[in-house]
């Protein structure tokens, strides 16, 4: 017999405030100790882990970048040989794209989206826990392989036939391909959770036109993940099949198609850029309001730009293949779309500028990173328009011009806003403020270091320096600029070091933060810093786009939820009217077991196709354990 079936239901309206928070804390708590840490399904704890792990990968990828810059500082340097260099640039790209950029954006949303929409946990919280463990396993696979001199050496895009069975001997390409599987499973899981959370768990009253821009951005991003990532999962799986069981997907001699790889990869790869960039757009649009001290200009335009960019992102992939020999007329369609996507990007830029222009800006660290983002991203966008043109792209393809362009877009477009976001939401995560002085120092070092490092690469590219070369001869005209770039990279590295020092120092010794230290308008600031395990004692009711600004005396709340089981409100998709009270799953160790079983199966399948058969048995057992009714109140529908 289920205990809750006999006991009377306890609801929030039946108890005093102090008793309410005690009861909710008991119901939603994560037990202390190792078991609790491994079994937790609290989106905040998992989000923090995700963010921390992603920044560890950022630091590791940064070390690789530093090694490359030391190697290229001098002609004919001998620090790295060609094989190790191939591994390093592959690891750097794969690590930054698959283990840092995408996961960290989703991680921020895992932490913030439920708070911003006013709910108590993310949808499918056990899947959320599973996704983190799988992500961690994928990252560990890649880095352990690298430590064992088995790191992939085929570029972050692993073009066939280089990565195919004819040329990619050993297991290096398989490691890359299976790392993709890990990270894509993880990303897809989070995307599904976010879509459901945003569609069905918004606070009552949060109609479509009252959703914070960051949440809109994550909704669009999640759809991009869901539609783009299956293409790369298909590509990496078929590559493994070619390599392991002798299929011929990419073998032209047997009816396969080498270009198929490029199409599949870039059908994923170009939206990937927007999967990284759109969350940053959301962060900037959200952060700019308290620092401009006015609502963001052009909410409608910003949301339209997000959605339109998300759709157009799927019509650009061939601009990575302009030298692949496709008909020029077909290429021109992709040029047109690539140019067209500059319009929503421009709308966003003008909206932010208008917000600052009409506001009363407070130049704290987060705003500095926003301004740094606008400057660098505009430069990256302009060179993007240049390489969208076929004749120009044909000249600079595979040169350092492209390296400069995509670092401007990715670091300018994503890392600057992300660093601003860390400064901005740090008090929410930790309850402490980051040092403003160190924040400003790290901004200027990163901004100057970044531009001094990457801008000269445009010139190196125009001078003909190709990408992915491990050294160059002294008589080539690249030495001076390469030395300058490498020295500038030291400044950039110093900026990041200072940022990490600031984070670690502030987490322990930072000034205690108020609940809403920036006077921000979104719902995550309507609860304590850091939030309790249940997020909100009572679910807020939203009456505007800026609820915290518009209801300064306290938000109206919805009541009637049970306190003796994990329960949240499900609302209608468009109008966010309450529809049902829904149980939210309790902590469980089974997601970890499922992740371990899946990890064994995926790594084993690098070596034997039978792993899929035998490895699926423990995975199935773990899933049965995961979904088996436990007799807790949460099992009741």
């Amino acid at each position: 017999m289920k205990p809750s079936a006999a006991a009377p239901e306890q609801r929030d309206i039946d108890v005093e405030r102090a008793q309410l928070t005690d009861a909710l804390a008991e119901t939603w708590k994560t037990p202390s100790g190792l078991w609790g840490a491994l079994a937790t399904v609290d989106h905040k704890i998992i989000g923090r882990r995700y963010i921390f792990t992603a920044f560890v990968f950022l630091a590791l990828g940064g070390v690789l970048a530093a090694l490359m810059r030391i190697q290229l500082a001098q002609p004919e340097a001998r620090l790295l040989g060609p094989d190790r260099y191939n591994q390093i640039f592959t690891m750097h790209g794969a690590n930054m794209m698959f283990l840092f950029a995408v996961p960290v954006m989703e991680a921020v949303a895992v932490y913030l989206a439920p708070l911003m929409v006013g709910t108590r946990n993310i949808a499918f919280p056990r899947l959320n826990a599973f996704s983190y463990w799988i992500y961690l396993a994928g990252g560990a696979l890649l880095w352990i392989a690298f430590a064992l001199d088995m790191g992939p050496d085929v570029g972050w895009f692993a073009y066939v036939p280089l990565s195919g069975p004819q040329y990619g001997t050993g297991k290096r390409a398989d490691i890359w391909a299976q790392m993709i599987t890990f990270t894509e499973i993880s990303a897809l899981a989070v995307a599904v959770e976010l879509v459901v959370t945003i569609f069905k768990q918004r606070a009552p009253g949060m109609t479509l036109d009252r959703i914070p821009v960051f949440v809109w951005a994550m909704l669009v991003t999640s759809f991009l993940v869901i539609m783009a990532m299956p293409a790369i999962v298909l590509a990496s799986t078929s590559l493994i099949l070619d390599r392991l069981v002798g299929t011929h997907f990419y073998n032209p001699a047997e009816g396969g198609d080498v270009l198929l790889w490029q199409h599949l990869f870039w059908f994923f790869g170009h939206p990937e850029v927007y999967i990284i960039f759109l969350p940053a757009v959301g962060m900037v649009s959200t952060m700019i309001e308290p620092f401009a001290r006015r609502p963001a200009f052009g909410y409608l335009g910003l949301v339209m730009a997000l959605i339109a960019t998300g759709i157009l992102a799927f019509g650009l992939w061939v601009h990575h293949m302009f030298v692949a020999g496709l008909p020029r007329l077909g290429d021109s369609f992709f040029t047109a779309s690539s140019m067209a996507i500059a319009i929503p990007a421009g709308i966003q830029i003008f909206c932010w500028l208008a917000t600052l222009w009409d506001g009363r800006p407070v130049f704290k660290s987060p705003l500095l990173f926003i301004i740094g983002f606008i400057i660098t991203f505009v430069i990256g966008g302009l060179t993007g328009v240049m390489v969208a043109s076929v004749p120009f792209d044909t000249q600079v393809h595979d040169t350092y011009f492209v390296v400069a362009h995509f670092h401007y877009v990715l670091i300018g477009g994503a890392v600057f806003p992300l660093l601003g976001a860390v400064h901005y939401w740090f008090p929410k995560l930790t309850g402490r403020m980051m040092s403003e002085a160190l924040g400003q120092w790290s901004f200027w070092l990163i901004f100057v270091g970044f531009n001094a490092t990457f801008f000269p690469m445009h010139i190196l590219g125009l001078e003909g320096m190709p990408r992915r070369i491990y050294t160059y001869q002294p008589d080539l005209p690249w030495h001076g600029l390469n030395l300058f770039v490498s020295v500038s990279a030291v400044i950039l590295t110093a900026g990041f070091l200072l940022f990490f020092i600031n984070v670690m120092r502030s987490a322990r010794f930072g000034e205690i933060a108020l609940d809403n230290p920036w006077d921000a308008p979104t719902l995550e600031w309507a609860t304590t810093s850091p939030p309790p395990s249940y997020n909100f004692a009572m679910i807020p009711v939203v009456g505007s786009l800026h609820p915290v600004w518009d209801d300064r005396d306290g938000l109206p709340v919805a009541d009637g939820l049970r306190t003796d089981r994990r329960e949240l409100i499900v609302t209608t998709l468009a109008t966010a009217e309450p529809q049902a009270r829904e149980a939210s799953p309790q902590n469980s160790i089974w997601p970890l077991w499922a992740a371990i079983a899946t990890t064994i199966m995926l790594i084993w399948s690098i070596f034997s196709p039978w792993a899929v058969v035998w490895g699926s048995i423990p995975a199935a057992v773990a899933l049965i354990g995961w979904f088996w009714p436990k007799g807790t109140p949460e099992d009741e529908s």
Partner: protein, 114 residues
């Protein structure tokens, strides 16, 4: 949801589902029709692009006009209808622009260039 309500929703959001669909179809045709253009020296790619632009313009109009009819009949919160209408109309405008650019490109090229 009855048929008339569904139709209203579809027409409000037309700029966000129909216009991208037309644009995506034209992107695919852009991979197929150059061979036809080259063989027959026609401008099939340009014609389909301009037809697509006309269709996306129609979807923009549909998105813009539909909620005006609905709001007149109801007393509820119109934020979502207005919001959907404006976002859809603006998006359809963007896809119209992309299709016009594609049509112009197809006028300049013969389809035989590699």
């Amino acid at each position: 949801m009855n048929a008339s309500k569904l139709l209203t929703h579809l027409s409000i959001w037309a700029g966000l589902w129909f216009a991208p669909l037309v644009w995506a179809a034209n992107m695919q045709l852009g991979q197929i029709l150059p061979y036809v253009d080259c063989r027959s020296q026609s401008h099939a790619s340009a014609i389909t692009s301009f037809i697509g632009a006309a269709l996306t313009t129609a979807s923009a109009l549909s998105s813009w006009l539909s909620p005006r009819r609905v709001i007149g009949k109801t007393d509820g919160h119109h934020g979502n209808a207005d919001f959907g209408s404006t976002v859809s109309t603006l998006s359809a405008g963007l896809f119209t622009f992309a299709l016009l650019m594609q049509g112009l490109a197809a006028m300049v090229l013969t389809g035989c260039e590699k």
